[in-house]
Amino acid sequence: MNQATIDTLYELLRQVTGFIYPNEVEVHWSILIVLYPYLTGLVAGAFILASLVKVFNVKEVQAVYRLALLTALAFLLIAPLPLLLHLGHPERSYEIFLNPNFTSAMAMFGFVYAWYLMVVLVLEIWFTYRRDLIQWSQQEKFPMRWLHRIIALFSNDLSERALEFDGKMVKAITIIGIPSAFLLHGYVGFIFGSIKANPWWSSVLMPIVFLFSAIVSGIALVILLYMIILPLRGEKIDMQCLDKMSSFLFYAVIVDFSLELLDFIHRLYESEESIRILGELVMNKLFVSLGIIQVLLGMLLPLGIIVCIKLFKFNEELRKLLYFVSVILIQLGILATRWNVVIGGQMFSKSFRGLTTYKMGLGGIEGLLMSLALLAMPLIILAVFIKVLPPWAKAQAPSPEQAKS
């Protein structure tokens, strides 16, 4: 038995207020489990933004279409990592695929994830890039040439019919992809929302709130990346695109805020048995992370900023600065939202009579450094993707000889 763990538990025990069941001293789902909904939320949100282009024909957002897809894929690849690291026995994780319990929302992870990864995201990216992959590989040298050939599955067909088919497939996959994205993140909400033992989690609204905050964070992330990457490449930011994305962000934040406000009012109005301990939880343990970071800084302030932008028609430089600040605040706010749900739900006792604490270590598998690494990894992967599958490269029109081959 790890003495350090036991010492931490004794330390936590001293900080318990009120009465908790003796097994509840330890907060079981740590920062890693906070990261998972955050990461899948970004995936779902980025995909929804991309779908605006293909399904709802929002032309202004075309500039970030591919970036959004690549972002979604980069984050999706890292998303299972926090889960694996958290398991007591990660070497047994194959059991979720081999022997899933169909009454368990968590077991659905394997299938929903595999579906979304393979049938939606990878397929959509493939069909989007297929033409460019072929055209690039015709003009490149080793190794990029072969990399692109392999990714294109050695496809060579550039005929009118093939390209039209690509377009149709992209649209079809996006249409399937929207409910799939809802499912990918909605089931995470259901994992929490279906736990009747925990009144902080148990709510019909939980999957919906998760989904909308996911859309908010995904759109905000794409905006953030767009505003960072383009200047790094020395290119000009398309303000129409940025304004349009921010509009959608604005609508999403309004819906998200309304839902969370509804949940809050509903709880206070019904005033069920758990309201006392939940009130203590919010005022004592979650005051900063919920009141200040999630609501004030993460939602109200960005909302106010965007309203001002819409009302007062600021100039381009000011708009860019304000957008940049807003999306960073929103990311922090949504991360805080996940924290408040996951950690907050474990800090009060199911006896409704006491509160415990969560101590996040610095090192260790479930510590802060690991979490920061997990947040940084998708960005590194995205950088690789951008190198291999450039979102904004204009492939040259094929010469007549190349078109015939």
Binding site: L98, N99, R130, S155, D157, R161, M169
Partner: protein
């Protein structure tokens, strides 16, 4: 879709091929996995078997009866419901190997007080003593045979089993009243407390003996017994062991 009538697009063919390879491969691989790794009923059976074969540490009292006469003595006394191992600890290894392994036998005061020290949350009627004042420093077993723990003297005070009540009364206005002033206690109560019960007074007039206006007792608070709370018994409002007015 019309295009299906013609040759399917090359891109689609390639993608489908990859899918078939993946999914088909997964299904084929699954069929090679032995049943023990994917059959739910086998897991359950294996777990149940494993659980059932875990080692037993407590032997159970009936096992002790085979060799130890104290078991029969215990059956006659107040400790009849106790398991031998409650005091003597884990004894399965001793039962399996009586000569080599011996169980413990607690002989110090601090063991008996785990159950018998006064604690206000213990149910009333459970025999409790104050370890500081009840024959301090003497081992409990010097007066009480643990297998038949009848006290050497019949408890004089009701406090021996009704500690909470006694302590409440001790700081109340009724402190000078003996328990027997209000409760008539038959002899058998101290022997079989749950069978032979003490009685409570029958009516308002009983309290009126001290608290009615015409009582001979000069120092008690007086009320008009005819009108004061006339539909109720006195103790429906006033807790007799702490008879506060407000």
């Amino acid at each position: 879709m019309k295009f299906l009538a013609k040759k399917p697009p090359d891109a689609l063919v390639r993608v489908l091929l990859i899918f078939v390879v993946f999914v088909g491969g997964a299904l084929i691989a699954r069929s090679f996995i032995p049943a023990a790794l994917k059959e739910k009923s086998l897991f359950i059976k294996a777990t149940v078997d494993r659980e059932m074969s875990k080692p037993i540490h407590y032997a159970g009292s009936e096992v002790c009866a085979a060799c130890h006469d104290e078991y029969n003595l215990k059956k006659t006394g107040y400790h009849v419901n106790l398991s031998c191992e409650t005091c003597h600890g884990i004894s399965k290894t001793h039962a399996d190997n009586p000569t080599e392994v011996k169980p413990t036998a607690p002989r110090k005061r601090d063991f008996c007080t785990l159950c018998h020290a006064y604690d206000r949350s213990r149910p009333t009627g459970f025999p409790q003593i104050n370890p500081a004042t009840h024959n301090p420093l003497k081992p409990c077993i010097s007066c009480h045979n643990p297998h038949d723990p009848k006290p050497p003297n019949v408890p004089r005070e009701c406090e021996a089993c009704h500690g909470e009540i006694a302590r409440t009364k001790a700081i109340s206005p009724h402190v000078l009243l003996e328990c027997t002033t209000c409760h008539s206690v038959p002899d058998g109560h101290k022997v079989s407390p749950r069978v032979v019960r003490a009685a409570i007074p029958s009516g308002r007039e009983f309290c009126g003996k001290c608290h009615a206006k015409d009582s001979i007792n000069k120092e008690t608070p007086k009320i008009d017994i005819a009108t004061h709370g006339e539909r109720y018994l006195c103790w429906q409002c006033h807790y007799p062991h702490m008879p506060e007015v407000k």
